[in-house]
Amino acid sequence: MNNENNNQPIREKVLEIIKNGKVTMRPKWHFIFRTSLAVIGGMIIILALLYLISFVIFILHQTGVWFMPVFGSEGWHEFFNSLPWILVILSITFIIVLEILVRHYSFGYGQPLFYSAIGIIAIVIAGGIIIACTPLHNRLFKYAEENKLPFAGGFYRGFGLQHLDNVQLGTIIEITSDGFIIWNRQNEKLNVIVTRKTRFPLGTDFGRGDVIVIFGKRDDHTVEATGIREVERVFGPGMPVPVQMPMRFPFPFENF
């Protein structure tokens, strides 16, 4: 143990370095600036996350994918198949970055990773749902459709007007002998065929003007429905809806 011999030189050497001006004390503002940058960075990530998650929820409603799980295991399969995975992966990346940032502070590292991650996920999902319920995305989407949204227009049109093979969402404009004709967001008229195998998990009380989502294989402008359900317009599909007509979906299918 030669601590005594070692002690003096270290102390003196460090003091000499300091006195020679080779090392200077960082000013207080340096740390305030760094903390501010971390806070601003964290806020930007949270806002980006809220935007992304609310956009994903909006898009899932817009395309009808959100309602797929009601059709059972096949519906769940379709749900996961049709998720905008690029946006989901981007959101997960932001969550990881936020978690890394938070773990530099005692309120972050003081908790097991599981708790802080669950906390972050719960907050951003709840916030995303709340934002998705506001007219924000619907308005931006309308502007995008009218080419009035210069920056994110393509983004909204690309995700919101995408064609999905097995999920169609639209407004009933006509009841036919074997199903309906719907009008979708892409301004297409689709002939929906209802068969004995078609499932109606929420009943068959449909009429003209109702917005429905159809789960089933599309072939050109015809869809053979595996399942149909009405959609509540919480997130506003934004499409022009014909005046509600008294005509209801009848009928022989109710007895199936």
């Binding site: 460090v14 004390m25 740390f31 590292y109 908790q111 097991p112």
Partner: protein, 186 residues
């Protein structure tokens, strides 16, 4: 100066009193050397690292809040310095990610070891330190040699307090197994 607390001296350094930093170094030099020697087991040039720790402490002294304790603050700097040295020089795996950080652990309460028990553990640690992985080694060193409490160790290692308890408990168990295996006389 001798009667002043570390925090009071640090506050003086923050105001530009360089000599006061000399007093702080005097108080911590031996502790840092001892911490380094027990943390780094391969004959590392600890002196250079301790010098680097003090330089970093001086540069960043204005980020220290004198309302809080000084010792966990400087040990945090030392921890980073030693961990980086270990990573750089020996490419030793220094628990970048651990399952016991991921999931909540049962709350491990701080236990008051008897003086005799503490001495036993310290003796065992001295003999078998290098055989214990870094993950368990560091909390054991901080608890038994630097006499820090769970909260201070948690602050230095930036892990939950409950994880400190778990690592100390497992560390002691591993230590006893090692002693039984390699040095049954102890």
């Amino acid at each position: 100066m001798h009667k002043k607390t570390d925090e009071q001296i640090a506050a003086q350094v923050q105001k530009g009193d360089i000599e006061s930093f000399g007093f702080l170094m005097k108080r911590y030099e031996e502790k840092m050397m001892r911490y380094g020697r027990r943390f780094i087991t391969n004959g590392e040039d600890i002196k250079d690292l301790v010098q680097e720790i003090f330089i970093k402490a001086y540069m960043n002294i204005k980020s220290f809040d004198p309302e809080r304790r000084f010792s966990p603050w400087i040990y945090r700097i030392a921890h980073n310095e030693f961990v980086n040295a270990v990573k750089k020089r020996w490419r030793e795996k220094v628990f970048p990610f651990d399952l016991d950080l991921l999931f909540p652990s049962p709350v491990a309460k701080e236990t008051a070891d008897s003086e005799a028990h503490r001495k036993d553990i310290k003796r065992m640690l001295d003999k078998s330190l290098e055989k214990i992985s870094a993950k368990y080694r560091e909390p054991l060193i901080l608890y038994y040699f630097e006499e820090m409490n769970y909260k201070e160790i948690a602050e230095i290692l930036q892990i939950p307090v409950s994880t400190v308890g778990i690592r100390l408990k497992r560390g002691k168990e591993i230590l006893k197994e090692i002693v039984k295996k390699f040095d049954p006389i102890l």
